[in-house]
Symmetry: C2
Subunit: 342 residues, 2 copies
DNA sequence: ATAGTTTCTGAAAACGTTATCATTTCCGCT
DNA sequence: AGCGGAAATGATAACGTTTTCAGAAACTAT
């Protein structure tokens, strides 16, 4: 029933090592016997036992991918980059969904280790110092995608959040907006939180616009949070007269749009909205969402490359953050205002 | 550097089998030595080598999950059900994204096999007969989730599409709609195509409403297709006077909503829309989409259970289709019409 | 006290590969 | 003819586990 290298060897009338050679270094074996063996392999539908190989050859066979919440819309493109690159390196990908539960993240590390991950790509959530000690104990390297560690001691691949946020807000400003609200991420979330907020403030000061607390609200990146934050911003609208909002995630942007709609206002006629992420559905809603796009596949590829290097070298090559180019995708949710001559 | 069972044994001053016993059947070993060993395990951060175990114990260690397109919004919930159940069975999950490319599906089967999948859960795409022969050659069982095979010779877990579609359309009818359009899936896609269309027709005839070709358009489930199909339906609107549309997928429903909006009409005031899938974003758009929900996690769980049975028994237990309960989620995209007294 | 039984532990084999080494065969050369 | 070396193949060990199996020690019952 079960076909092993032994079966193939018997079927081809050669020894076991010869079969192995045909499969791994064909030039070492006589062409005639080679085709005999290959015929046997084909006839028997032989697939080498990965466990035996993994045991014998001692190199890595799998990498773990830890994702805080698989529902995140941008994830599929990141996975594509990771998976294809991993496959090229002969690596299996083990996907762990933490379902937004910090407990599950901690447990996930050892689950991934137990499942033979030789390294972990940790995505998009915040990576506190004690995770480092955790993974250090497991003895497997970690690289970060779409996030940074608190101590900046782990290689990371992400967009320059400050610059990207700056560009988003500058886009609004150069379209004539002067009173711009922001829906920022929690300040404790490195990357998506303080940095994007910082980019907002930098853009204001660069264009010499005043900053005021009434222009800012916070939310934890989800749809509901965007809705709630927008409610707050609209509360002060009598004072602020905002004409545009920058949201730190597309999901919040979409929540905000819904909120604006519920208040009897129109996007972008009354209020323009710009998001961050370029999730698939940014292009599906009405109006289509103008937003910041990240090179997700590229980030996935780079993360795997870096991880492979770390695994084979036994040590992390460069624990610095690598910034990848972002871009702004203009769609329909931002309106150009006539130049204000006041 | 590398810590194996041997290291632990030495550190605890016992033999290798004893360590193994402590880990696998603790009651066979003296409590005193047991804690000695457990201390060593903890001190050394020992994790058993999965390849060695996989080789020695001959049972399955991984299941493959083939998904036609990872972007599909409903996928994360299905994965959750699959992953957690697999973990409980000590199985690793290998996720393969075919990226809508039939070529990749075919290649994916052997990739998954090479990565030691002992079985495959094939999701949501159509499963033609020749896939059966392919996987039969690989010698691994397949179960289907959210789809059916053409010959009905493979266990499948899904919603009863005919009934679910019937319910969706009946919902519209009982809300007063008499002229209802349908955006159906391609008739060659078993399950989501002909069945849902059939459900539509059954509902019409059950309520003694006439069927007409001008009420139907087709699309391949994506946003753009929904948009295009709706354009077509609106073309005949002068004749049909449709007040509602049933779309065979939420994505198409959302595309249709956008199309309706682009024609200067309102959902649900001018046209009601009901979808199918209950993807996360159905709850995010404006207006929120009324739709048919499938028990995705449950389906994932059942698929794994069935696959595990098939793997251990060596034979498929029941190659019939298991219908799981669906439900209708009322939200905002359907309007009740006043009773028509004409 | 001794035989029989239970409780605990270690030695050895096996899972399916690949790498090292040794052996055989064959070729070209003096 | 004899010899060095290349080319091709096979025997064997090893990777890290778990599972017999057997043996030692400690009881229990006579």
């Amino acid at each position: 029933m079960k076909v092993t290298i032994k079966t193939v060897a018997a079927h081809a009338g050669v020894s076991i090592p010869t079969v192995s050679r045909v499969l791994n270094s064909p030039d070492l074996v006589n062409p005639e016997t080679r085709i005999k063996v290959l015929d046997a392999v084909a006839a028997l539908d032989y697939y080498p036992n990965g466990h035996a190989r993994g045991l014998r050859l001692q190199h890595a066979t799998a990498v773990g991918v830890m994702v805080p919440k698989l529902d995140d819309f941008f994830f599929s493109r990141l996975y594509r980059g990771i998976y294809d690159t991993a496959l090229k390196h002969g690596l299996t990908v083990l996907l762990y969904d933490a379902q937004s539960d910090p407990q599950r993240i901690v447990g996930g590390f050892s689950t991934l280790k137990r499942q033979q991950s030789s390294g972990i790509i940790f995505c998009s959530a915040t990576f506190p110092a004690h995770y480092s000690t955790l993974t250090a104990r497991l003895g497997i390297p970690v690289v970060l995608a779409l996030t940074e560690s608190e101590q900046h001691d782990i290689p990371a691949f992400k967009v320059d959040d400050v610059r990207a946020a700056f560009d988003a807000v500058a886009y609004l400003i150069t379209r004539g907006h002067r009173s711009i609200g922001v829906i920022a991420g929690p300040l404790r979330d490195p990357g998506a939180g303080p940095e994007r907020f910082q980019g907002y403030k930098l853009a204001l000061s660069h264009y010499q616009l005043p900053f005021s607390d009434e222009h800012v609200a916070f939310g934890a990146f989800r749809y509901e949070h965007g809705y709630a934050a927008m409610t707050e911003l609209l509360l002060h609208r009598a004072n602020t007269h905002i004409t545009a909002v920058f949201a730190a995630s597309d999901e919040m942007a979409i929540g905000a749009m819904r909120c604006i709609h519920d208040h009897g206002l129109q996007v972008p006629d009354d209020i323009s909205v710009i998001g961050y992420d370029d999730v698939v559905l940014a292009n599906m809603i009405t109006p289509k969402l103008t937003t910041i796009a990240q090179p997700l596949e590229e980030i996935g590829r780079m993360a795997v490359h870096s991880l492979v290097a770390a695994i084979s070298e036994g040590q992390l090559p460069d624990s610095k953050t690598h910034y990848m180019a972002h871009s702004l995708v203009p769609r329909e949710s931002v309106k150009s205002l006539p130049y204000d001559t006041s």
